[in-house]
């Protein structure tokens, strides 16, 4: 167990800079998730912590020690790869023993460690199988077994669930979270799936184009996204961003849509000059069909069972709302939208920054 500090980390491949000054502190025992769209640099950051990519500038500190020049094999870090990377010519037992053998442990010590790790993950029955004789979910579990048997300082996960089917993914998500709670280990977990990050992580680092957009607990990011990118990245279905102009109204400033409709009152806490352009962020679950309010036209109705997602066009902009239960709406229906102005997120249209 250890903490990991990343300081002003830069990574360039030739002329292309993929990480531009990353600062993250991962606390001992913390489950930290790195999320962002593909190409944001999250996997590169993980590989640099692992020692698989050289550092262009900055420092990586593990357990108080700068490891910039330290080879991967000397960092005492375990990694679970997206494609599991199990050694195909070795049984599960041999896969799990490999790292301990490299460390020069005795046969008895190895057998004991493998047995206890196998017990934690329920792998006892699979120990003599080869990777190709197992399902994707079982291979995933073995990959984790290979990591925990070493009791490393830090666990790294690189999109470990993306090759599993949806049902298994939900199950493994729970299992990994439970495993973390039991082992209390430091985990850095890369995913492009914000839902995985939201459900599992203690804290989330949202990255885009080589920079960190925001670091915070899942609900922090959900409730107070620092900019419109984080707002629309975290949460599913994604937050609506409606481009509006601020105008003075009878009871205070209001947000006016492109079609000159008043979307909502500007929250009283927000200080925006009249005439300014803003993006109004509204979570789909904070938007409802009301008796009055701006008019929109229903485009698509998607029932999911417990709720119904309605996609509508508001003055040419697409907005989504989540309606509890069943909905009698149909394509083409005219509706009025209602929202609580205290639940709005207001972003500067130019910079995307939260106001």
């Amino acid at each position: 167990m250890a903490n990991v500090n990343v300081r002003k980390l830069v990574k360039s491949f030739g002329d292309a800079t993929v990480l531009r000054g990353i600062d993250v502190d991962v606390r001992d025992g913390e489950f930290l998730s790195l999320v962002g769209p593909s190409g944001c640099g999250k996997s590169t950051l993980l590989r640099m912590i692992a020692g698989l990519e050289p550092i262009s500038a900055g420092d990586i500190v593990i357990d108080g020690k700068v490891v910039n020049g330290l080879a991967a094999k000397d960092r005492d870090i375990a990694m679970v790869f997206q494609n599991y990377a199990l050694y195909p010519h070795m049984t599960v037992r041999e896969n799990m023993s490999f790292a301990l053998e490299m460390r020069g442990l005795s046969k008895a010590e190895i057998a004991a460690s493998v047995a206890s790790a196998a017990a934690i993950l329920g792998l006892e029955a699979l120990l003599d199988r080869y990777p190709r004789q197992m399902s994707g979910g079982q291979q995933q579990r073995v990959a984790m077994g290979r990591a925990i048997v070493r009791d490393p300082k830090v666990f790294l996960f690189d999109e470990p669930l993306s090759n599993l089917d949806a049902k298994l993914r939900v199950q493994m998500r729970t299992e990994i979270k439970d495993l973390h709670a039991r082992l209390g280990s430091t985990i850095i977990y890369v995913t492009h799936d914000q839902l995985e990050a939201m459900t599992m992580a203690d804290r989330i680092v949202v990255m885009r184009a080589g920079v960190i957009e925001q670091i915070g607990t899942p609900l922090d990011l959900y409730d107070r996204p620092g900019n419109s990118f984080v707002g629309s990245f975290i949460g599913s279905p994604a937050m609506n961003l409606v481009r509006c102009t601020v105008a003075g109204g009878d009871t205070g400033p209001v947000c006016v849509t492109a079609g000159n409709q008043i979307l909502a009152r500007l929250p009283v806490t927000k200080q925006v000059a009249a005439g300014a352009t803003v993006d109004v962020g509204i979570r789909p679950e904070d938007l409802e069909v009301g008796a009055s309010g701006p008019h929109a036209q229903v485009v698509v109705v998607e029932p999911t069972g417990p709720e119904t997602q309605v996609t509508a066009s508001l003055d040419g902009q697409i907005v989504r709302l989540v309606v509890k239960g069943r909905s009698s709406l149909n394509r083409g229906d005219k509706i009025s939208l209602r929202t609580d102005s205290e639940k709005l997120h207001i972003f500067d249209a130019e910079t995307g920054t939260r106001i």
Binding site: A50, G51, L52, A71, A72, K73, D74, R75, D76, I77, A78, M79, F81, N83, A85, Y87, P88, H89, M90, T91, F98, A99, M102, R103, Y130, R132, R146, R150
Partner: protein
Amino acid sequence: MLRGLRTPDPTRRTENYFGPAMVLPALLGLGLFQFYPLVSAVLNSFRTFNAFTKRPTGWAGWNNFIEIFADDVFRNAVLITLIYIVLMIAIVVPMALGLAILIDKRMRGTALARAAILGALASSEAVAALIWNQLYEPGTGLFDAILKSMGLPEQPFLVSGPHAIVSIVVMTAWKDVGLPMLIFLGGLQAISPQLIEAAALDGASSWRIFRRITLPLLRPSLILAIFMVTVAAARLFTPIILLTQGGPDGQTTNVPFYSYAQAFEFSSPGTASASVMFMMVILVGITALQAFVIRDSNDGGRR
């Protein structure tokens, strides 16, 4: 099944002949140029021949075989053939693996090196043998010149028997290393880089990664490469006839060269065929033995 329901298909009748008709040319060619010579070689090894007309004159039973086994030159040729096979495997397989690993690293100059190695493979055996003949030239050849410039004694590269065997093997290794190298390169590139990274994170040094991960995963390539080098070494002929003509004193004569000499110099198709047959049996035995020795004992290498 459901025959009555099937719509009649006007093309069906012709299709019955279409398939075999398409296979026929290949079958004919194969029969004419592959099976007929093989069968006739088997038959010839049990026949007597007229030395002048080279026409079969009757059946010899096992006499052709008895005759060649009684021949010191043949017994020596079998030994020499085995030496060629052992030397070629010992030199070419590790060299091909080493070169494949270097080329797989994609360092500067890799493209040039690969082109050079494949160039040697593509070049004509006869041209290569002539070039190497000049390199091996006593006194004036490049190798002797290098030795002389370093103050070392000249070497009888093609004149002494043991030297000549090594000289032939070195030339053949230079020329033929490309094919097993390509096999290893393909094998290396089929290994997921994540496996290597996973092993590095597991604390394995480069050597142990090679020994415990790369090499076992290369097993199919290794089997194929050893098989191909064995067959090529057992059939070694052009360099021998061009560099040493089997000499000095038969000391570089292998079975193919012996067969050639029996057939074309001693006009004895019977003993020539018998030696070819014997070599074939030996080759089947050797490759079967290799397959057994390096077989995948736990069947785990298959992906």
